[in-house]
Structures are given as structure tokens and as C-alpha cells.
């Protein structure tokens, strides 16, 4: 029986162990570090189907035919795919840039947990900054959780012979839901409670004003009506103008409009950024009307505030009975949601 040389035996053992180690760590052995690397997620929401855009710079001027981006729960050691992460529907968002050929790269979804692309026959060396973007990648299901993308480039089309490698960290994050409610609104304000028309005479028109502001977010805006009687003193009244009429001295008249008038000089035009307008019958300067229940202003859509000035006029004739004439008018704003 031949006696084995112990030195030779030790050398053989040594080489065997090294060979086994190389088989065990095939991707790490000769890979150089990929630089300027990052992965940008289209969404960091847990379980979201999103894009993974990789930007990196490979140090080796070696022709690449495949690359993998394996997502793990740790940056090194045995890779465990984060729960929920899936590449099964992944696609290339666009052809990679500067990885080699500009076209012909395809995705492989056969390896769970690893985004892969390859192009057999690529003969162009990578240049500059490489970008690879995958769509329809499903994020890990844990929220606010870090995961790691281990990048490796290969010189063959079967993800077997590594060239360069690098790792980046990514994270899911909790989504923030912001809420606010907007209630139905109708803002209606009357600025004054009393309008004094003074002592009337047959040779001068009594006049005065009140104002009101209205706004609403109602879809169909608002309508503004008024109700009340004409000027009254006991059994005596000043005749209400049933239709739009100009002010006439020495004639019993009581009316109002929402305009800026010159005869008499009373009133102010509607102001504000709203879309409300005086209604027909009350929207002509120097023309007055009083008919309880009429709509004097309206807006047909949601509107910011408008301020209306209501101009009141009264005339009397020579037989108008003396007395203190008054009336109480009620304005009603109705929003139409």
C-alpha cells in the first residue's frame, strides 16, 4: 500500500476547502463595489404595487448581460425576502440606460424576491450612470420597515458570473391621511335695524338705505326675499309701488331697489367678490318697487360674500294724512344645496 505524503495531503485539503468556499459565496468572491447607488420607490406604502428605480455606477468596464436586485431583510448574510415583497408581476418601466445595449433587455420574474433583467448577446460595456426601473413591484407588507436591495451585475445572461455588487437600504413608511370637513354654509348679515326716511314733503323724496351681506357654499346658490307691508300710520298708508316705477314728487309712493340711484341720489352698487346680483324689478337705477315676498337678489351657484345696499324712497301728495309711518321688513336668505 502506498503511503501518502502528509504535506501533499495538507495542500489538497487546503485547496478543497478554498474551492468549497468559492462555491458557497459565488457572488461575493470577485465583485467590486457599485458606487453612487440608490433605489427610489414610487411609493413607500406597505404592500403598494409600485416602481423601483435603481441608479448606480458600476466600477468595472465589463460587458454585462444580466443584473439582479435582490430584496432582503438584512444587508448581508443569508437573504430572507421581506414578507409581502413580490416581483411576480414586475416589468421593466423602460429599457435600462447605460447598462450596455439600449434595447433588448427583458425581465425575469422566476426568482421570488429578486428583480432581474438580462440580455443575452449584449456586447456594449456599461457607461456613466446606470438606471434600471421596474414597475409593478409589490412592497413589503410591514410598514415603517427597512429592507435592503442587494445589487449584482453579471457578465453572463444567467446571473451566474458576478462582476460588481452593492447594497442599498430602503424603507416602507406609514401613509398619512389628512382629512377636513366642510359644512354647508349660509352667511347672511343685516347691517342696520332702522332706516329713517325723515319728514316727508310733497316737494322732496324721502330716502334711506340698509345693507346686507350674503354668501353660501350651496351648490345652487341662494335667493333673498323680503316680506312686510308698506309704510303705515294707523289706518293710513303710503302706496306701495307694485311695479318698477321712478320716483315722482307729490305722489304717494313707497318702494325700494338695490341700485345706485341718482333720482333721488341714494344707494350703492352691489360690492364683493360673490356672484350674487339684484333681481329683476330691483336692478334698475332710479326705478323702485315694493311687493312683499319678491326676490330682491340671488346667486345661482356657491358664492362668496356680496354686500347689497337697499335704497328706500317715499313720496307723499298733498292729502297724505299726517302721522308717523313705519313698517317692519323681514329679509329672508334661502340657500339651495
Amino acid at each position: 500500500m502506498t503511503k501518502t505524503n502528509p504535506t501533499l495531503q495538507r495542500i489538497i485539503y487546503g485547496f478543497s476547502i478554498m474551492a468549497l468556499l468559492m462555491l458557497y459565496f459565488p457572488h461575493v468572491a470577485g465583485a467590486a463595489q457599485i458606487t453612487a447607488r440608490k433605489v427610489t420607490l414610487g411609493s413607500s406604502a406597505a404592500s403598494a404595487s409600485t416602481t423601483y428605480a435603481m441608479n448606480f455606477t458600476v466600477p468595472s468596464a465589463t460587458v454585462l448581460q444580466s443584473a439582479s436586485f435582490t430584496v432582503c431583510t438584512t444587508a448581508s448574510g443569508t437573504c430572507s425576502t421581506p414578507a409581502g415583497f413580490s416581483v411576480s408581476s414586475s416589468t421593466l418601466t423602460a429599457q435600462p440606460t447605460n447598462l450596455g445595449d439600449a434595447a433588448g433587455w427583458t425581465v425575469s420574474t422566476s426568482t421570488a424576491g429578486s428583480l432581474r433583467l438580462s440580455k443575452s448577446g449584449n456586447a456594449a460595456v456599461p457607461t456613466g450612470v446606470q438606471t434600471v426601473s421596474f414597475s409593478n413591484v409589490v412592497n413589503p407588507s410591514a410598514t415603517n420597515s427597512t429592507f435592503y436591495v442587494r445589487m449584482t451585475t453579471f457578465s453572463d445572461a444567467a446571473w451566474t458570473t458576478p462582476v460588481d455588487a452593492g447594497t442599498v437600504a430602503g424603507s416602507t413608511a406609514g401613509q398619512i391621511t389628512v382629512t377636513a370637513s366642510v359644512d354647508e354654509t349660509l352667511s347672511f348679515t343685516l347691517a342696520s335695524a332702522t332706516v329713517a326716511l325723515g319728514a316727508l314733503s310733497t316737494s322732496a323724496t324721502g330716502s334711506g338705505t340698509s345693507s346686507m351681506t350674503v354668501s353660501t357654499n350651496a351648490a345652487s346658490g341662494y335667493s333673498l326675499t323680503y316680506s312686510g307691508t308698506t309704510l303705515t300710520s294707523g289706518g293710513n298708508t303710503i302706496t306701495a309701488l307694485a311695479s318698477p316705477t321712478v320716483s315722482t314728487l307729490n305722489t304717494k309712493q313707497f318702494g325700494l331697489n338695490l341700485m345706485s340711484n341718482t333720482t333721488p341720489a341714494v344707494g350703492t352698487a352691489t360690492s364683493g367678490t360673490g356672484s350674487g346680483v339684484p333681481s329683476v324689478g330691483y336692478n334698475a337705477a332710479n326705478s323702485f318697487k315694493f311687493n312683499s315676498g319678491d326676490t330682491v337678489a340671488a346667486a345661482s351657484v356657491p358664492t362668496n360674500t356680496n354686500t347689497y345696499t337697499v335704497s328706500y324712497i317715499a313720496n307723499i301728495d298733498g292729502v297724505t294724512a299726517p302721522g308717523a309711518y313705519s313698517t317692519i321688513l323681514t329679509y329672508i336668505a334661502t340657500a339651495n344645496f
Partner: protein
């Protein structure tokens, strides 16, 4: 027979005499340094490294004042041996051949004039033939350039001797010390790429493990007051170029109705449709938000860093760090205003903050 016995006895006597003489002649040789030497106390030799075979090692001798104070010392030696008994064998690999004096010794008498003698590879030696000052006080002698023994975790010994002559011949005092090489411990740690990021509505400090909540309720909008609320997010990374955080989503929406997003930095304006955010720390109009906290270097992006100025453009970067950074916690402030015609409804949006680390 008697003659034979006499002859044998005579020979035995001669042999005994030879043995005794030989023994007596060897004893002085074995104990030359120790013969009349007194014990040096408080002695130590400190190595700058105990790594085996280390070169350029510093050997620092320190002792109490030498016991013999009435005689000047002209030379000193530390002889290194593998044991303290028997003949001295220099530890394998030890070398004093390149030794130098780190500084002039103290406590040996003269403050200057001491030089190294590196001729004996197994001994560290200094000499000052002109020294006429008696020793006084604690002694320190430091050699550089020594090579440690090659065996690891191995004890070796130094025999310290002072001499009254300049040739390391006439010993005064002595003492021995034990030294040892030691295996160096290599501590290895792998630090992988990291990005820690979280968002919610509450967090303790910068600890993403405590983040909670996802709903920011701005309440009921009003044309006479600004609605506001906050969320939080924390980020850290060891990425070489730091990180960016973007905000992604739509403005507040209810069916087909929306609250207008502020496309440019704008102050909150009551009675105007507005939705915006910022990461500024001390908004006053309205009073909402908190300053960025944590030891990191992250900052709010310019468009979102000004107090009382709000903006919302989906996809924009709201916070960044330019380099590796510890954690920062950002408070995101949200404001909403409505005008008088803002349609009633429940307005919502879901915002996603995305952190991208740049390695």
C-alpha cells in the same frame, strides 16, 4: 589488596578535589550579576505592544530608587531570557539590535550623557562612562526600536542590573521582571447599508419603533379660521450622500371638489381655498408645528422650511441630508383654508412620504 584500596581511595580523593574545584569555579560564573547585588524594588518593564514579533516596540523600565546609593552607576542592562533559572536563553525573535534611547534616563545619576549599546541582541543596555553622580530617586529608562519575541502568549523575563563600571561587569543592584507577549485580538464588525425611516402622527424622540398613528384631522373648515394639524417622520441613514424625502399625493379632495393646493410658498389666508404643508418649526399664523429634533444633519428643504409659508406640490423634496446622518424627527404642519363657496363635504387625501438613501 590493601594497596589497591589505597590507590582507589587516592583516586577518589583526587576526583572529589577536581569536582569541588570545578564546582567552585563555576559558581562565580553563574552568579556574576547577582553575587553582591542588592534587590531593586518597585520594578516594572512596560511594553508599548505585546504583539509577538512586533517591531519598534518601546520598553519602559521603571523602578523605585536603587538600593545602592553610594556608588555611581555607569551602565545598566536588562537581559532578556526564556527563564530565570539556569543559563539565559534569549527568547526567539527578541532583538535589541535596533534599540535606541527614547529619552535620557532618570534616577541613575547624571541627567545626560547616557547612550545605548545595541551590540548585545538579547540585552537592552545603556552606558555613561562619565557619570560621577550617585543614583537618586525613582529610575526610568525607556528604549525604542525593540523587537518582541516571536512566540505568542509566552512569558519571558528581564534581569535588570546596574553596574559601577561602563562595561556591564561589576554589578551593583539587580532585579528581575516577567513579561509576556499576547495574541492580538481582532474585533470585526460589519456595518451594512442602513436607512431607517418612518412616518406617523406621533413618535417618541427619533425612535421609529414608537411611531404611531396615520390620521391628521384638520377638523371642520371655516372661512373665518385656518384649520391645521401635524404629522411626524424620522429618518437616518449611513448613505454616503445622505437621503431625500419626498411628499406624494393629491390635495384635499371630496368627490370632484378640491381645496386648492398651494403651488408656491404662500402665507395662510383666511377665506381663501388653500392646502399646504411645511416643516418649519415655529409657525405663528397659524401656530402649528415643531422644530426638527435629533442629532442628525437633516434639514427641511428650502420650499418647506419657512415659518408661516406653506406649499404643496406632489413629488417635491421636503427634507434632505447631504451625508450620513443620525436620526432627525420632522414635524409636518398642514393648513387648510376655505372660502365661502367651498362645497360642503368630507375632504381627504392620503400622502406618502418616500425616503431615498444615496449610497
Amino acid at each position: 589488596m590493601k594497596k589497591l584500596i589505597h590507590t582507589f581511595t587516592k583516586k577518589l580523593s583526587i576526583i572529589r578535589t577536581i569536582v569541588v574545584v570545578a564546582a567552585l569555579s563555576i559558581v562565580p560564573l553563574l552568579n556574576v550579576p547577582q553575587a553582591s547585588a542588592a534587590q531593586i524594588t518597585g520594578r516594572s518593564v512596560t511594553l508599548s505592544t505585546s504583539a509577538p514579533a512586533a517591531t519598534g516596540v518601546t520598553y519602559a523600565l521603571a523602578t523605585a530608587a536603587v538600593p545602592t546609593t553610594g556608588t555611581s552607576i555607569k551602565s545598566v542592562q536588562i537581559q532578556f531570557c526564556t527563564s530565570l533559572s539556569g543559563g539565559c536563553t534569549t527568547p526567539s525573535g527578541f532583538s535589541a539590535s535596533s534599540s535606541t534611547l527614547a529619552s535620557q534616563p532618570t534616577g541613575l545619576g547624571a541627567g545626560t550623557g547616557w547612550t545605548v549599546n545595541a551590540a548585545t541582541a538579547g540585552s537592552l543596555r545603556i552606558v555613561n562612562a562619565a557619570n560621577a553622580t550617585n543614583p537618586s530617586g525613582a529610575v526610568t529608562v525607556t528604549w525604542n526600536g525593540v523587537v518582541n519575541p516571536t512566540a505568542t502568549n509566552t512569558t519571558f523575563y528581564g534581569i535588570i542590573t546596574t553596574y559601577s563600571d561602563a562595561a556591564w561587569t561589576t554589578p551593583l543592584d539587580s532585579g528581575s521582571v516577567a513579561l509576556s507577549t499576547a495574541t492580538q485580538i481582532q474585533v470585526a464588525l460589519t456595518v451594512g447599508e442602513t436607512l431607517t425611516f418612518c412616518s406617523g402622527t406621533s413618535i417618541t424622540g427619533q425612535n421609529c419603533g414608537t411611531v404611531a398613528g396615520s390620521l391628521v384631522s384638520l377638523g371642520t373648515g371655516s372661512s373665518t379660521a385656518t384649520s391645521s394639524g401635524t404629522s411626524v417622520m424620522a429618518a437616518s441613514t449611513n448613505g454616503t450622500s445622505g437621503y431625500t424625502v419626498t411628499v406624494n399625493g393629491a390635495t384635499l379632495t371630496s368627490g370632484a371638489n378640491t381645496i386648492t393646493a398651494l403651488a408656491a410658498g404662500t402665507a395662510s389666508s383666511i377665506g381663501t381655498k388653500q392646502f399646504g404643508i411645511n416643516l418649519a418649526g415655529t409657525n405663528t399664523t397659524p401656530p402649528v408645528g415643531s422644530a426638527i429634533s435629533g442629532t442628525g444633519t437633516g434639514t427641511a428643504s428650502a420650499n418647506y422650511a419657512t415659518n408661516n409659508t406653506f406649499r404643496f406640490v406632489t413629488g417635491e423634496t421636503v427634507a434632505t441630508a447631504a451625508g450620513p446622518t443620525n436620526a432627525n424627527t420632522y414635524t409636518v404642519s398642514y393648513i387648510a383654508n376655505i372660502d365661502g363657496i367651498t362645497s360642503p363635504g368630507a375632504y381627504t387625501t392620503t400622502l406618502t412620504y418616500i425616503a431615498t438613501a444615496n449610497f
